[in-house]
């Protein structure tokens, strides 16, 4: 009673949030698990069918294509979205003129604010073989015939990977920059006393001091790998779809477009399990190094 009197209002404040999560997070999770074991139709009977849906997904070659695409594109994004902002932050850190540093940061951050529809729309246009800017420049300077970037499966994968890294680097670089600023200045002083050049200071002071931030960024990026969707949905076209469609795209196609909700739910659970496993592995790995 006493607790209720003292804290009652606080519990009331939690009610909407708890209710929301129950209906839109927990219930769908349970419902999804249930659906994955059902022959789920929008109307009528929904008999339980055991592992049929999981089997169907595991024997679907499109699923495995999607898995490979996720690993290749996700791996590429993981690498480039890590290295690009790191290089950017280190480079920005060497800029002496405050205004130039600020201006660069301001401009490089903009793509992060824009949707994939806008970014994708602009780049599809820029990369188009007819009158895209990129091809016009290539033709003008290198005298080659226009490249159809988004119709070539290998190139299209690269475009997805590099565009993602390009879009997000201004954002992630903030994390690195903040960490660089908080490095103890006496470390640099000591290094300079020992006659360390700028390059040596970078290699022996700055980069080792960024270890923890690198772990955080890597962990955050890993969580995002299986969620890649928007950029693929925007940049894909029938010619390259089989080399671009990632697991999320597979689920979307199965569930929303073909309305095969059972198999789609089963595929979602594979994604969920892989995500959780990946999180655990990366957490374990990054913690291991700390000891």
């Amino acid at each position: 009673m006493k607790i209720l009197k003292r804290y009652g209002a606080l519990y009331v404040m939690m009610v909407p949030v708890v209710a929301y999560f129950l209906v839109f997070a927990y219930y769908p999770l349970v419902k999804g698990l249930q659906t994955s074991f059902q022959d789920y139709k929008l109307m009528g009977d929904r008999p339980y069918v055991g592992f049929t849906n999981y089997n169907a997904v595991l024997h679907d070659s499109t699923f495995w294509d999607a898995m490979v695409n996720t690993l290749v594109i996700g791996g590429g994004i993981l690498f480039f979205s890590f290295i690009a902002p790191l290089i950017l932050a280190l480079s920005l850190n060497e800029v002496l003129q405050a205004w130039y540093k600020k201006l660069t940061q301001m401009i490089l951050y903009v793509p992060h604010l824009l949707s994939w529809v806008v970014i994708g729309g602009i780049w599809i246009f820029l990369l188009s073989p007819d009158n895209g800017l990129v091809n016009m420049l290539l033709v003008h300077f290198f005298h080659i015939s226009p490249i159809n970037f988004l119709s070539d499966p290998t190139l299209a994968r690269w475009i997805v990977i590099l565009l993602t890294a390009w879009k997000e680097m201004g954002y992630t670089c903030i994390l690195f920059l903040a960490a660089i600023v908080s490095i103890n200045p006496s470390l640099y002083e000591a290094a300079r006393m020992d006659g360390a050049s700028r390059w040596n200071q970078l290699i022996y002071v700055t980069i080792p001091q960024l270890g923890n931030t690198m772990k955080v960024v890597f962990l955050l990026n890993t969580l995002g790998v299986l969620r890649i969707f928007d950029q693929v949905f925007i940049l894909r076209n029938p010619t390259v779809a089989s080399k671009l469609d990632v697991l999320m795209m597979y689920t979307f196609q199965k569930g929303i477009l073909e309305i095969k909700l059972g198999p789609a739910a089963a595929a979602s659970f594979f994604i969920l399990i892989i995500t959780l496993a990946l999180t655990l592995v990366v957490r374990r790995m990054t913690r291991f190094d700390e000891v």
Binding site: Y7, Y20, I122, R198, I271
Partner: protein, 289 residues
């Protein structure tokens, strides 16, 4: 990091110049595309279709904007986006800060349980429950309504924890003394904490505003009726689905680019505030979790 003094010598100068150039090239990969888009949007239809490097409008006119507004009715998806963004953001900020406020009481019974309850929702990616979410929305008769979009991501663990971190910076004694004066929790929350954590509110509001304006997966899933389309979905149909010349009629480049420009304006309008608050928010969000 090193002082000016140390940077004499041609090697350092050469490095600084190369470094500045490297950043300039990176900046150009962002500036040139946008200048190109802007210039094309103000060019005439025929001029915009010519293969030419356009960094300044050719045959300057606003025909692109006129067509996108009047013939393609972009005002309708724009309005839908505005509705979803404004209502969704307001509710999101309010609900997340309510929950964030609750967690500043360290001795609240059941606090740990509630935190775990929220952390679990953060571990499960929204995408993994996409299919059952569709079913839930269907059962609630929300398919093809804007309500479904407002409800999508209405609360997030991230915002709750972020708000909590901002609230924690406010001295606890203040609420204690207000309580002695007879103020209830709701009043303390509304009149003291929300006001004192204005920077936090601004951060979460901006994050959410940008997120909702750019929201894509949810509308693609929940909407099939084109009168309910949000700007992003309408843009996708207009810009991307027509560039593979499968559209029913040809949308000229200037019209497409005008659509892009219109969709970017609100984001650019809030960009100065974003700069002010995002940094802090990103760091708070990434450090304490």
């Amino acid at each position: 990091m090193s002082d000016r003094f140390e940077r004499l010598g041609w090697k350092n100068k050469a490095f600084d110049t190369l470094n500045a150039l490297f950043l300039l090239v990176l900046m150009l990969t962002m500036i040139v595309p946008f200048v190109n888009v802007l210039a094309l949007s103000f060019s005439s239809g025929t001029a915009s279709m010519q293969p030419d490097i356009v960094l300044w409008p050719k045959q300057f006119n606003a025909e692109g904007y006129e067509i996108v507004w009047k013939s393609l009715d972009i005002w309708r998806p724009l309005l839908n986006s505005v509705i979803v963004t404004l209502i969704g953001t307001t509710l999101h900020v309010l609900l997340s800060s309510l929950a964030g406020y609750v967690f500043i009481y360290p001795r609240l019974p059941g606090r740990k349980l509630m935190i775990t309850f929220i952390l679990i929702t953060m571990m499960v990616p929204q995408e993994a429950i996409m299919i059952p979410l569709y079913v839930v929305n269907k059962d609630l008769h929300l398919i093809n309504t804007l309500t479904a979009l407002v409800l999508s991501g209405l609360v997030s663990g991230f915002s709750i924890l972020l708000m909590r971190n901002f609230f924690l910076n406010i001295p606890h004694e203040m609420s204690e003394s207000a309580k002695i004066d007879g103020a209830g929790e709701f009043r303390i929350f509304l009149t003291m904490y929300l006001r004192l954590a204005a920077a936090g509110l601004a951060t979460v509001t901006l994050f959410e505003f940008v997120g909702r304006w750019n929201m894509f997966t949810a509308p693609v899933m929940f909407l099939s009726d084109s009168t309910k389309y949000t700007l992003q979905v309408a843009l996708k149909a207009m810009i991307i689905d027509t560039s593979s010349n499968s559209g029913t009629y040809l949308v000229t480049t200037n019209v497409r680019m005008a659509g892009i420009v219109i969709s970017i304006i609100p984001l650019l309008a809030i960009y100065p505030f974003v700069q002010k608050y995002f940094m802090k928010g990103i760091l708070l969000g990434a450090s304490k979790e």
